[in-house]
């Protein structure tokens, strides 16, 4: 039964390809979506353009593909004319569908919240809606007579993180030393209920957050928000530490221990049970379901398709021109690699991939430090640009508020503090004290954002990659990973290959971890037995990630992952009094020396 299912899935993705490449008439697929029909002519034209390119470069691409897939490009070349143009058509349609989906969701999750005493800065547009340029060809910006706005979910995260930091009296700073001691295993008791040690829980949660957000996301933040976005990202990282503390403490407190010793926890559980204890059970239940639905979406978008898409962009930097026509080959390889773990049950691969991640992080940070040392004379200027950019932002970055939003948004997307996802991983740690795991969890945003993201940001700012006119195509294509790769390679020649490997591994381990988050939420909604259907959907999205354009994938990811913060933070705020009481009680016992140091 399992084998049959596995086979079905591995056949499914190539079949999608086949269907796309074999359809004789491009219009045959158009009935899928009415909007696709209107753009058929332009698509055909652009498809024809891309086809010409392929003919010139197709051979080069074929040589660079891994040996295992060498037969596929040959097939594609066989009837290259039709197959590639129809493939591009299908790709566009998938992309358009994602784009449409985004529009509906964005209406709610990105609802613009006006900020008093500020004003909106926008590009000046002419009557036709085109940007107006000055004599030197620069875009003109104008200050509108409206307040600047913040997307609802970002506003929510900022307010939430600030509130928790104050409510918990800066536990992110007070608890830092204790967090390191606990993570080092000083208080580990192997007889406590749970599945992993504090260190392992932290590593597990980190493998979900450390990834493309740190490499691609940060580059995107600096491209759209300027150097100043770095400052707000670090601030968001510090505040986010408390959000993470609160959610992971609750994740531990309301976890469920099954008869076989397995532990299930996370935002779904504290929302439904915690709010149930406050006498608002139905609201808690509704928030838990909303959270689970968004988390499943996030696990398919940001935790999956975005990872495939952006890691592919980074890998593409190391491949010769023409390889972009074979993105689906990477999609299939990734689908198989993920499939053999989540459906095939080959645990060793997941174990190895996840355990390499900390080493890879180390190498990445080290390389960034080397770049900073090599460019030491530019460091003061970079810090000035970051500091000044944070407060007196240029209009092209959307003003000070625009920079702040960009910084917070990317930090949230990278460290997921306030989003509630990490609580699922931290809830399985072996401990009797929920607060202790919360304290460990606050190291997550510190490592992820304050250390790793800052390193990427400094590299991008110091090398000036974000304002290099020759690199503007990365900016236009939202290819953050490509920009970082280019920036680092310029200083350390050949580093792009190292980065490509790191990026693929980060992406892979993030996908494995997110498939766990998604599966837990799926099981919460549909029961433990329904896991297999989730795994199949997950694999389909791995493949889709390789062919859908970065823009729509990123937007979809943003919407889902940031959306999770809405039900989560409502719950965290309502339960914050309880966390405060638990924290004070724990802290008192800790300070009085009541907790034995085990080693």
């Amino acid at each position: 039964m399992r084998l049959a299912l596995m086979a079905a899935i591995f056949v499914l993705c190539p079949l999608i390809m086949l269907a796309a490449t074999q359809a004789p008439n491009p219009n045959a697929n158009a009935s899928e979506s009415t909007t696709a029909e209107s753009s058929t002519t332009t698509e055909s034209n652009s498809a024809a353009d891309s086809l010409t390119n392929t003919d010139e470069t197709g051979d080069g691409a074929e040589k660079t593909e891994p040996a295992s897939t060498a037969t596929e490009p040959k097939e594609a070349n066989g009837n290259a004319d039709e197959s590639l143009s129809t493939f591009r058509m299908t790709e566009k349609k998938v992309d358009e569908f994602c784009g449409q989906l985004n529009e509906y969701l964005a209406g709610v999750l990105f609802f613009p919240v006006p900020i008093p005493f500020t004003s909106k800065i926008e590009k000046k547009l002419d009557a036709d809606g085109n940007a107006v340029l000055d004599e030197s060809g620069e875009t003109i910006y104008e200050t509108k007579d409206q307040n600047a706005t913040v997307p609802l979910s970002v506003f929510w995260l900022i307010i939430g993180a600030t509130f928790f930091t104050i409510r918990m009296s800066f536990i992110n700073i007070r608890g830092f030393k204790h967090a390191i001691m606990v993570t080092a295993g000083k208080f580990d008791n192997p007889d406590d209920e749970g599945e992993v040690s504090h260190f392992q829980a932290l590593m597990s949660a980190l493998s979900a957050t450390v990834g493309l957000g740190n490499i691609a996301g940060v580059a995107i933040a600096i491209m759209t928000g300027g150097p100043g976005a770095t400052f707000w990202m670090i601030v968001a990282g510090f505040l986010g530490m408390t959000s993470k503390f609160v959610e992971c403490t609750l994740g531990q407190k309301y976890r469920e221990v099954r008869p076989d010793g397995r532990v299930m926890g996370g935002a779904m559980f504290y929302l439904s049970r915690g709010l149930g204890n406050l006498g608002i059970g139905p609201i808690g239940k509704a928030l838990a379901v909303l959270f689970a639905v968004l988390c499943i979406g996030g696990s398919l978008g940001g935790g999956n398709a975005f990872q495939v898409n952006q890691s592919l962009n980074a890998v593409q930097e190391t491949l010769p021109a023409g390889a972009e026509n074979y993105r689906w080959v990477y999609g299939i390889i990734m689908t198989i690699m993920v499939g053999i773990v989540i459906i095939g049950g080959i645990r060793r691969i997941a174990k190895t991939a996840e355990k390499i991640v900390p080493t890879m992080c180390g190498i990445y940070v080290l390389a960034a430090i080397v770049i900073l040392i090599m460019k030491a004379k530019d460091v003061p200027d970079a810090f000035t640009a970051i500091w000044e950019g944070a407060f007196s932002a240029k209009a092209m970055y959307g003003g000070a508020i625009g920079v702040l939003i960009t910084g917070f948004k990317r930090a949230a997307f990278s460290n997921e503090a306030g989003v509630g996802s990490a609580a699922i991983a931290h809830s399985v740690a072996k401990t009797e004290h929920p607060v202790r795991e919360g304290v460990v969890a606050l190291l997550g945003p510190f490592i992820d954002t304050v250390v790793i993201c800052t390193m990427t940001a400094l590299v991008i700012v110091i090398t000036g990659a974000y304002q290099d006119k020759t690199l503007q195509h990365f900016v236009a294509a939202d290819n953050g990973a490509g920009l970082t790769s280019h920036a680092m390679n310029a200083v350390i020649p050949g580093f792009k290959y190292m980065l490509a490997i790191a990026v693929v591994l980060f992406a892979y381990s993030t996908m494995i971890s997110w498939s766990f988050y998604g599966e837990r939420c799926w099981a919460y909604l549909f029961g433990d037995r329904a896991s297999m259907s989730y795994r199949i959907i997950f694999l389909i999205f791995v493949f889709l990630g390789s062919i859908v354009s970065a823009k729509n994938v990123k937007d979809f990811s943003d919407l889902m992952i940031l959306g999770m913060a809405i039900p989560n933070i409502i719950g965290l705020v309502l339960l914050s009094n309880e966390v405060r009481k638990d924290m004070d009680a724990y802290w008192q016992r800790y300070k009085s020396g009541e907790f034995k140091i085990m080693k």
């Binding site: 766990f516 549909f526 029961g527 037995r529 896991s531």
Partner: protein, 146 residues
């Protein structure tokens, strides 16, 4: 189906209140407590959870934990002599195949009465047991089931 006490009755246990309540019902139909076979079916271990990837969660430990719980349950229900069994896989199929293996005369199973989404996605273990079992199946209907 005669009303004589049975020598082998399989009682699936998922540690819910309903399944605990099924034990006395089964006992009433059994020759003695030793005629009862309490079975718990574990789901196969996934390969992506932190406990598997980072920790050392494994099937042997899971089975041991469940056996311990089953023993406690049997003790509390006053059926210490019952045979305790754990299996791994699809609950409905495993229960039916175990009953066949030991030549059970009856399976006593509670129905949780899931409705809506869970019902649609999961179907019902009881339903599957009925479809696959070769012996009689006694389904205990939950009082508040829809």
């Amino acid at each position: 189906m005669s009303w004589l006490p049975r020598k082998k009755i399989v009682v699936p246990v998922d540690f819910s209140e309903e399944s605990e309540a099924a034990i006395p019902t089964a006992l009433a139909m059994a020759e003695s407590a030793s005629s009862l076979h309490l079975i718990h079916v574990l789901y196969p271990l996934d390969s992506v959870s932190p406990g598997v990837v980072w920790g050392d969660v494994n099937d042997e430990d899971r089975e041991r934990a469940v056996k311990k719980k089953l023993a406690e349950l049997a003790d509390n229900a006053g059926v210490k002599e019952a045979t305790l069994v754990t299996r791994m896989g699809n609950p409905g199929l495993e229960i039916a195949s175990y009953a066949k293996e030991v030549g059970a005369e009856l399976i006593v199973i509670p129905s949780h009465g899931y409705h809506g989404m869970k019902r649609l996605v999961l179907g019902s273990v009881a339903e599957r047991v009925m479809r696959h079992a070769e012996c009689s199946v006694f389904v205990l209907r939950r009082t508040d089931a829809e």
